[in-house]
């Protein structure tokens, strides 16, 4: 085929460019979050949630997770627009992770040796990471669906960042179930859950976000 032929062909399809509609994107996300909500309800809410939710540990964790959601979403937004720089978002994500890591570390070091394993492992360390990554799946699916219509020039990395974003959102919802209250635990297992979700996102991205 001659390139001029192709150009003539494409010109017939001229017109304002349409991307994914915001309502559509919001709709998919809402459905995904509803599914996540059901998953958390199935796991069961923390019976002392109203008490726990008013503690500063809980609010700090939520602020941290919310920051992770915002930073990773901002990064994904930039990565799906060709020619846009990543800006400060990678640094912001790194700093947020580092902040919780530092907080967890100092809490661990200040505690008496006998209590350290309780701080780090709590009662749910075996399931926390997997639960978060599992709850993240519907959100990740909704994000991938939308990102396929965009133009990520780094498919795997974009998928990973979408996974991170989904993981952070999932962790916020999982917090309604989780009874752990140490920063050390969050730094280890919540980060682990988001990391696992990012890994899943990277694999899916390499596969499904190419165009």
């Amino acid at each position: 085929m001659n390139t001029d032929e192709l150009i003539a062909l494409l010109a017939h399809d001229a017109g304002p460019a349409r991307g994914p509609k915001p309502q559509q994107v919001a709709g998919r996300l809402a459905v995904a979050l509803a599914v996540c909500g059901v998953m958390v309800l199935y796991m069961g809410l923390n019976p002392k949630l109203s008490e726990f939710a008013s503690t500063s540990v809980f609010s700090l964790k939520m602020v941290w997770l919310f920051a992770m959601v915002v930073f990773s979403a901002a990064l994904v937004y930039r990565m799906v627009h060709p020619g846009r720089q990543m800006g400060n978002a990678p640094w912001a994500i790194g700093l947020a992770l580092l902040a919780m890591g530092g907080q967890g570390m100092s809490q661990l070091l200040q505690a008496p040796v006998a209590q350290r394993s309780a701080l780090a492992l709590g009662t749910s360390w075996q399931v926390c990471t997997l639960n978060i990554a599992f709850i993240a799946l519907p959100v990740l699916a909704a994000l991938m669906w939308t990102l396929r219509d965009m133009a990520p020039t780094r498919p795997a990395l974009t998928g990973a960042m979408a996974g991170l974003c989904a993981g952070a959102l999932a962790a916020m919802l999982y917090s309604l179930h989780c009874t752990e209250n140490s920063f050390t635990f969050y730094a280890l297992w919540y980060s682990g859950g988001m990391g696992l979700s990012a890994l899943v996102g990277a694999v899916l991205g390499a596969r499904f976000l190419r165009w």
Binding site: T3, L10, A11, H12, D13, A14, G83, R84
Partner: protein
Amino acid sequence: MSESLQTIELELHALWLQAQEGDAACYARALKVISGYLRRYLNRRMQSQPSDVEDLVQETLLAIHQKRHTYQSEQAFTAWMYAIARYKWIDHLRAHGRREALHDDIDDWSEILSVSGDTEAADSQRDLGHMLTLLPDKQRLAIEHTKLQGLSITETAALTGQSQAAVKVNVHRGLKALATQWRVKP
């Protein structure tokens, strides 16, 4: 380099925005100009596989067309365009790199000698006719009539019994399907 990039930017930015208003002639002109820059960009990077340049020019043009909603008007158009070209180039290297390394055909040399100029449109190795036959009839007819026979949307609608909206939708869907087939060479 930076000065010439600025010239390209000035030339394309306004033209592109105008084309996005829905002006087909303007859009064709923009794509034509873009194809010249793409050819130059890819010629420079693919000196060992000149026969693939035009394929990749077309693939990149199609990507630019399909992903045009990802361009943000406050952004430099050239940054967007070259980011897509770069993505398609790297994607191509990844897909063909290994094969090309093993493939040393005498024809490659004759093609180096006859490589066309930067701005001259050339043929790719894809056969449009063949790709069209793989489309559903409605889409194929819509594309054949509007493009290959140069009929208007109204005339095509009358001829095929589709509504004008349906013709537009079918041309659009057909192009999308063509893009999917793009990677499978006939």
